[in-house]
């Protein structure tokens, strides 16, 4: 007796034709980044565009949405850096995930750290996260051209449980131990303070950020968060073709 409980739509994209395959090679340590500033914008995108990118192992969320998230890191094994990642919100069976389409880091060393350990397809760019009073402004400048300028205005404090903003874990196209899949990045947040505000894009160069494959249509909101951030060792590699298929790389590490 079959139970078609996973009979949801899945993508039909061929990620290997779209994205670079990163081969993580680092020892996959647990990395403490201390207190970081996070600036995240969420927006809806056209369903057809997203389905053409998602692989057959992932369901789209309903409605489909994406995020551009900036991190300002003050302390790391490679020093201070800033980092931006563009992702598509999706579902690995019932679990919310964010499929990385592009990533930008402000230093060679940080790009290498993120690429070698967790498969982020990092390019080196000028990435800046700044927090003027009651908001935030973040930018990515690549090859002297601003490809993203994102602002938060009318920010409101989030209190209680709302402060724990739920950022889905990123998944990155990677080859790990010879196996191609989507490497899950387990980030753990310890929230200090959080705001939600109106999202504004002064610039969003879809060609530079998504290869022109997906475009923001309706902006949802943005969050500005200060949180302790820890990135755990590599643990899970999701299949590209089979819903729910995973390769366990290591046992979970409890913080």
């Amino acid at each position: 007796m079959s139970n078609p409980y996973l009979n949801h739509p899945v993508g039909h994209g061929d990620l290997t034709a779209i994205l670079p395959v990163v081969t993580p090679s680092g020892s996959s340590p647990l990395v403490e980044l201390g207190k970081v500033d996070i600036h995240c914008g969420l927006f809806e995108m056209p369903y057809a565009e997203v389905m053409a990118v998602l692989p057959p192992s992932l369901h789209p969320s309903t409605p489909v949405y994406g995020s551009l998230t900036f991190y300002r890191v003050y302390h790391s094994p490679v020093g201070a850096f800033e980092f931006a990642v563009m992702g598509i919100g999706c579902r690995n069976t019932i679990k919310p995930r964010m499929l990385t389409l592009s990533a930008f880091a402000s230093t060679e060393a940080s790009a290498k750290l993120l690429r070698d350990n967790w498969g982020f397809p990092c390019e080196v760019a000028d990435v800046r996260v700044r927090q003027p009073y009651h908001g935030a402004v973040s930018e990515i400048t690549l090859n002297s051209k601003c490809i993203a300028r994102m602002r938060t205005e009318d920010a409101e404090f989030l209190l209680g449980m709302a402060r724990a903003v739920r950022y889905p874990q990123a998944i990155n196209l990677s080859k790990v131990d010879g196996k191609l899949g989507l490497l899950q990045v387990d980030m753990v947040y310890d929230y200090d303070q959080s705001y939600r505000g109106r999202l504004i894009f002064d610039t969003f160069d879809a060609e530079a950020i998504t290869g022109g494959r997906v475009h923001p249509t309706d902006l949802i909101a943005s969050t500005v968060v200060t949180a302790g951030l820890q990135i755990k060792p590599r643990r899970i590699l999701l299949d590209l073709d089979h819903v729910g298929g995973v390769t366990k790389l290591a046992e979970a590490v409890t913080a």
């Binding site: 949801h8 969420l42 789209p60 309903t62 019932i94 739920r166 909101a221």
Partner: protein, 370 residues
Amino acid sequence: MEFGIFHELSVPRPFTRDIERVVFNNALEQTRFADKAGFAAVWCVEHHFLEEYSHASCPDMFLAAIAAQTENIRLGFGIATCVPEMHHAVRLAERAAFLDVLSNGRVEVGTGRSSTWNELGGFGSDITTTKKSWDEYIRALPKMWMEERVRFDGQFVKMPERSVLPKPIQSPHPPMWVAVTAPGTEIDAAERGMGCLALAVGNLEKNAPRFEAYRKRIQTCEPVGAFVNNRIATVNWMFCHEDSNYAKMRMRQLIESFSSMAAQTIEVSQAFPANNYGATGLLGQFRVDPDDEKAKAIPEGLTAGNPQELIDTIKSWESAGVDQMVLMINSREVIPQDEVMASLALFEREVMPHFKKSGIKVSAKEAVHV
């Protein structure tokens, strides 16, 4: 203990032109049976844009169809969304009263405010004010039903003097309820003298203290309507079969289906974090940590098993102070309709007789008037 049935009208893919008719007709057949079997109420959700999860965008129309096909069963909005971008308060009052007239006074009005980005974002709702608009609506609705002419100058209900028509059959007005998922909403219900429609879905141990808190708080409430609706109804999955293991296997399918559907949608707290959506809602409860084996287990308190197991489970809910068990009996047609009907028939034959004479049945007319 009373019994109700709860319809989400969840629809399996592929979405053919015929599939919604099949789902709606199956739900109607189940409800006709429930009416004859002596179930107290049928509840229908209101959801929008929730693919598979619920295609019940017009519960008043569904309940009107039920009204025409049944004799006694009460008709519950489970719930009417009190958000101005979705419904003007007058339209909610009109629809509930209209159905009350058509059904000869069988309406129960559940209220709520939605918790998904699909719905609130789809209608361009102001997420930050849904609790406020709900609070204003529930105070306006009884006035619209009871007073010949009303005028409002609120933040969300603002209108010149008009007569909202028709007036309901039930006097002074239909009983009002609140959908309770997030912790603390049971207190909101109690403070306002409204029934607690708890989307508990099992988890008796977790919910029993909330019911107790509701009972305590409602004793000193200030009702928003003309009377206190001091009742607790709790929504629960049900599958009854002589073979306990078979029933539990079916229950697991129901839960898996529901969980996976719920997980595809975006909760408000995921997309638009807001202080009035601080707690994890119903959907989040089904998206458990994959490493947490305990969280993946079937929650205790679910009504799945053979008749004796169901009797025992329902008695434990009764002991916790629940007045009505509202049963969800299918999800996306995962269970064939003939098995659903057989489960209902067995429930009527073997389970319901154990509860018919216990408890105090409270109708709107018997409820405490202020």
